[in-house]
Point group: C2
Chain length 142, copies 2
Amino acid sequence: MEIKRSDSQPTSEGPGDRFTGRVRIELLFEPTLPGRAQGQRVTFEPGARNHWHTHPAGQALIVTAGEGLVQTWGGPVERVHPGDVVYIAPKERHWHGATPDSSMTHIAIQEKIDGQVVHWVEGVDEAQHRSRTKRARQDAPP
Amino acid sequence: MEIKRSDSQPTSEGPGDRFTGRVRIELLFEPTLPGRAQGQRVTFEPGARNHWHTHPAGQALIVTAGEGLVQTWGGPVERVHPGDVVYIAPKERHWHGATPDSSMTHIAIQEKIDGQVVHWVEGVDEAQHRSRTKRARQDAPP
């Protein structure tokens, strides 16, 4: 058994070739074989998000703070809030991040298959992000 | 993609042959193959805990509220608090729950292998729980 005490772990910055804006990543747990699941706490500053990507075994996101956005390829941008849980299926192309005006923190859980936990596709550009956010706002209930 | 909105899910009661005291379980996500990881939010009322058990692929516990206890077979009782992350190795015998005086909520993540996510061993009896808690208190820093 290993216990990582609250706020005792270093965080790393989300690399610019996979994220847009400032993103802090804290590794929460790594698997021991035959386990495959790993967990991170990820904080996206306002406007920050990751690039389009897929996970070979899917991903669960548990939102813990702020307001965020998530979108799958061809689908609407969805707004998420603390307590919401997003499940993304294996190989489903998606991105997630903060809104332009609020940071967002989530716990992310995904599994390593054949040494790979994620496949990166392409970035979500500024115009896409803003126009999608605007649509999400218009679609959102008052 | 599926989004479960905060507090929109029903909870179930932890069954008496696997838990002592009142325990509420909320399923957060279930895997889609080849994914194996599942997640629950579990709230133990004061004095509640689960029986000794193991997980074939290990388990991660992310404490989100209250004060709890966790112990592996032969090890000391450890106190845990919000933000603490406990990683239990595959097949490591352990139990977790609330302290006698405080509830505890954690997110639990474990993986299904050959259809099995947990193997239950035996209960943690009242005297064990209280004496362990007392020792944990004595061992704890002021």
